[in-house]
């Protein structure tokens, strides 16, 4: 079991190194990011505890995958397997537990610990899993696959939008809108296999335009319930809603272009740094979008021409 965890640690370090960071720096950034986001979430809503639990459980659920656990069961004896699964779940929820203790939220903490213990005994079987319906059938694939993997984030965002209206917190409504966009951005973080670019009968420019158009269309589709909800109840602030929506489109475009500017690699430090810079100073987008565009065209030419 010790070797298993040592191996997991090595694999995690390799992932961070592949991203272009020294593992220690990666851990530092992760801890800082987690802390900042946690404080931000708890400052925005009184229901942060439950959002927090949902995020932590969604992370544990990824470890309940049937094939993965079938492999572990095959490798280890039954006793070791269950203690290993329990330990894994505990490690994953540890940062959440520490923060909940700090916030003195003991009931959510108890729910989280119980869930982590129970989920150590559960395998999510592929055999009986049903196909999650998606409204994005017409234009595969990012939103189809992304939505199925992250639909619970969309549900959380919709719940937050309803809460924002019921408690009269406009900022929370905007946060829910941004959560949908952040979720959409995640659909573009992994590079697809070269085959799925090669198949297109499009020039690189048309290909990118197609991707951006689909991204904007489908993100609008996902945002619409939130826009309508907060638009109706905070009608005097509708311009701000549209402003954030437009900003979301611009960043979505930037993320799509960043993805293909790094292709066939993953979005790496240079792209991440430039996007972070734009988040801080959006005016830089004027220069960065064309830069990513030209880089993407160069990368895509190899596969499309």
């Amino acid at each position: 079991m010790r070797y298993y965890f040592r191996l997991q640690y090595k694999m995690l370090n390799r992932h961070i190194s592949d991203f272009g960071l020294h593992p220690l720096i990666g851990y530092g950034i992760s801890i800082a990011g987690f802390t900042v986001l946690s404080f931000y979430l708890f400052s925005k809503t009184e229901f942060a505890d439950y959002v927090y639990i949902a995020i932590a459980i969604s992370m544990i659920l990824k470890l309940c995958e049937n094939k993965r656990n079938g492999f572990l069961k095959n490798c280890f004896s039954s006793d070791i397997y269950y203690s290993l699964r329990f330990s894994e779940n505990c490690i994953v929820i540890l940062p959440f537990v520490i923060f909940l203790i700090y916030m003195q939220s003991f009931t959510p903490l108890l729910i989280l610990l119980l869930s982590a213990s129970l989920l150590a005994f559960i395998n999510l079987s592929n055999q009986f899993q049903f196909t999650i319906p998606t409204p994005f059938f017409k234009r595969p694939f990012e939103f189809i696959t992304g939505f199925r993997k992250t639909f619970y984030f969309i549900i959380i965002a919709y719940i937050l939008a309803i809460i924002s209206v019921s408690v009269g917190n406009f900022n929370l409504g905007i946060f829910s809108l941004m959560l949908v966009f952040l979720t959409s951005f995640s659909y573009y973080t992994e590079p697809e296999a070269e085959y799925f670019i090669w198949i297109y009968n499009l020039s690189p420019g048309r290909f990118l335009l197609n991707k951006i158009r689909t991204g904007i269309l489908y993100s609008t589709f996902m945002c619409l319930p939130i826009i309508v909800t907060i638009g109706v109840f905070f009608f005097d602030k509708i311009n701000i809603v549209f402003g954030f929506q437009a900003l979301g489109y611009v960043f979505l475009t930037t993320v799509i272009l960043a993805k293909y500017s790094a292709y066939p690699g993953k979005i790496n430090i240079p792209q991440t740094a430039l996007i972070a810079l734009c988040l801080y100073l959006p005016a830089f987008l004027i220069g960065i979008i064309p830069y990513f565009y030209l880089q993407s065209i160069k990368r895509l030419k190899e596969y499309l021409e």
């Binding site: 999650i132 595969p140 085959y195 799925f196 090669w198």
Partner: protein, 226 residues
């Protein structure tokens, strides 16, 4: 027609294809055989334009890749995409409509299930169905018979015959000689990145025997089975 001239490909210092010259005509089925690692898949990727290479691949089309259906040895599937959506993706990428998908699902695949949960053979059949629905002019099929059941094997053989009738260019690799014998007009033997032999239909038997003799030799005796 696809004409390949002086095609070479190296991965670092390893030369995989060495100055390959070959042409493929319309309405013919070509078999490519060779040991594992002889360069078949790399050769196919070069034709498809999925690999950079030195040399020249020309055809009757402005851009060959837009008229080529490429069946990969191990087709990749996204983790949460259904069979139907995969077909839709491949068709829409070529600006084609996925029409009558259920009717054309001749392998009876569960199209509304996630493709990543399919068996190896089902994945292959799905990828083949999708590239057939793209209505291509050239088909590059890397081990189309690998992992599929015997019934599907028969269907694939008939599909290849039908494509030939429709005047398409078909290039196949397979490790199962019988399937090549049933479908091909010519077989080309690839060895260490070079085509060392071209065999027409009437000489297939001789090639099979030669390959058996060369491959097996006295290797079985070396096992010292008792």
């Amino acid at each position: 027609m696809i004409k390949i001239e002086n095609l070479s490909k190296a991965y670092g210092s390893k030369q995989v294809l060495k100055n390959v010259n070959i042409s493929f005509e319309k309405g013919k089925v070509y078999g490519i055989v060779g040991e594992n690692g002889s360069g078949k898949t790399t050769f196919f990727k070069c034709i498809a334009g999925l690999e950079r290479y030195s040399g020249n691949v020309s055809s009757d089309f402005d851009n060959l890749k837009n008229h080529t259906g490429f069946l990969q040895t191990e087709p990749f599937y996204f983790s949460k995409i259904t069979g139907r959506e995969f077909i839709q993706l491949l068709c829409s990428a070529r600006g084609k409509q996925a029409i009558a998908t259920d009717q054309r699902n001749i392998f009876d695949l569960p199209l509304d299930q996630y493709a990543s949960t399919y068996s190896t053979g089902m994945k292959k059949k799905l990828a083949l169905t999708a590239i057939l629905m793209q209505t291509n002019e050239c088909f590059v099929l890397d081990e189309p018979f690998n992992g599929v059941d015997i019934h599907s094997n028969i269907i694939i053989t008939d599909i290849i015959r039908k494509l030939k009738e429709l005047n398409k260019t078909i290039i196949i690799s397979s490790h199962i000689f019988a399937t090549l014998n049933d479908t091909c007009d010519e077989i080309h033997l690839l060895k260490e990145g070079v085509f060392v032999k071209k065999v027409c239909r009437e000489e297939f038997g001789i090639l099979e025997q030669e390959m058996k003799d060369f491959t097996i030799g006295n290797k079985i005796d070396k096992l010292m089975l008792t």
